[in-house]
Symmetry: C3
Subunit: 164 residues, 3 copies
């Protein structure tokens, strides 16, 4: 942490677990690590799902009035009445995954592996683990367990603190 | 604030008012206060509802592609087509409340009381109050009124600033 | 930035693009600039839409269990089953715009113009631009392009960093 070295440091508290919102913490975390910052990520709430070995990330256009997808040369915003039809979430998930692949953006699995290799400190929230009855063996290797106090302690020592 | 004492300080701007998203600010705020930090919470936008005396917090699985509930030994993610049925929000709210109780997690009412007792500074956003036509007497005792400038002033003096 | 002057500085990473969530970054950014802070805004993800010349911001009550609208002397929270009906998003958008106007709150267009006039540094995320196939000429004058590294560089030099 910043008290022990001259490197800047960043903490990210990761609270969302959908396919789209999984990107910001991993992109920012790995970029910061590549720039020499000491990075800690605290996975809690719906975000704890991002530490699962077996990622089954989904997304939904529902309730997101700003999700535009490039389609057939234009942009589409899906009306909610259409978005709630069975199968539309799966379609949106596939569409986003295809778009990401086509554009050469890394997958969440790849970004997470980069995060581990960059020695980003990955903390899983104990309370969330208990609340949602996840098993520790379902989470990837290399994580540690911690609570809100662990996070606050990290944040007091970090130069940048983001709640995502 | 940090200029007047050696204690670290934290500000949280609280913008969401659903049952699930009410937890992160109150858990982080009360934990930080218990660790000796000076904490300020600025309630604005949908988050202002968390200062109401009479909390009627609800939540919805709709539009949350990552909400997993432990159920009958496994985990359930509710499809949106099912989630929009009448009564499902009420059911999800009850299910979450039961889960929280069963796991021994404090209620929002209890956490909020702890926040007041910890002398966390609670600021209600004047503009939101006017916009949504809340009455000041509907809010709990011990809050003060402020605007965006109040928040910026607090944030410039805080070591940790979170937007939740 | 903070290394070059005595002014405090703030960075905001803007990730949401709906009518309601467009307010917090622009209100906080312009307020901070008016108070003498050096402000940078990094528009990425769904938030990049807020830099479009032609703003078509919408909002939805869907999936927001805490959206209360003052109506006929009371408050209304719309059930999701009703909120998914065709036309309800448009109605909610109009209702919010009317409410904002009636209460004398500035429009997003006005706040954005104030942001540009306050010399807030406006950075558009290159990766999002490519991913969603936006054209640079669709964005307002005065923005610059940048990536995650640009953001991290700004954040390490800022006193306040918010992820919205």
């Amino acid at each position: 942490m910043s008290e022990e070295s001259n490197a800047k440091s960043m903490s990210i508290i990761v609270t969302k677990g959908s396919l789209d919102w999984a990107y910001p913490p991993f992109i920012l975390g790995t970029t910061a690590a590549a720039m020499g910052l000491e990075v800690s990520m605290f996975f809690t709430f719906y975000g704890l799902a991002l530490l699962k070995k077996d990622l089954k990330l989904q997304m939904t256009p529902l309730g997101n009035a700003a999700m535009e997808m490039p389609m057939m040369g234009g942009h589409m915003v899906m009306p909610n009445a259409m978005a709630m039809l069975p199968g539309v979430d799966a379609a949106a998930t596939v569409m986003m995954k295809n778009l990401i692949k086509k554009k050469g953006v890394a997958s969440i699995e790849e970004l997470r592996e980069a995060a581990v290799e960059s020695e980003i400190r990955m903390v899983a929230c104990q309370m969330t683990l208990d609340l949602f009855e996840y098993k520790r063996e379902d989470l990837i290797e290399g994580h540690e367990l911690g609570g809100a106090a662990t996070y606050i302690d990290i944040a007091t020592k970090s130069d940048i603190n983001l709640f995502i």
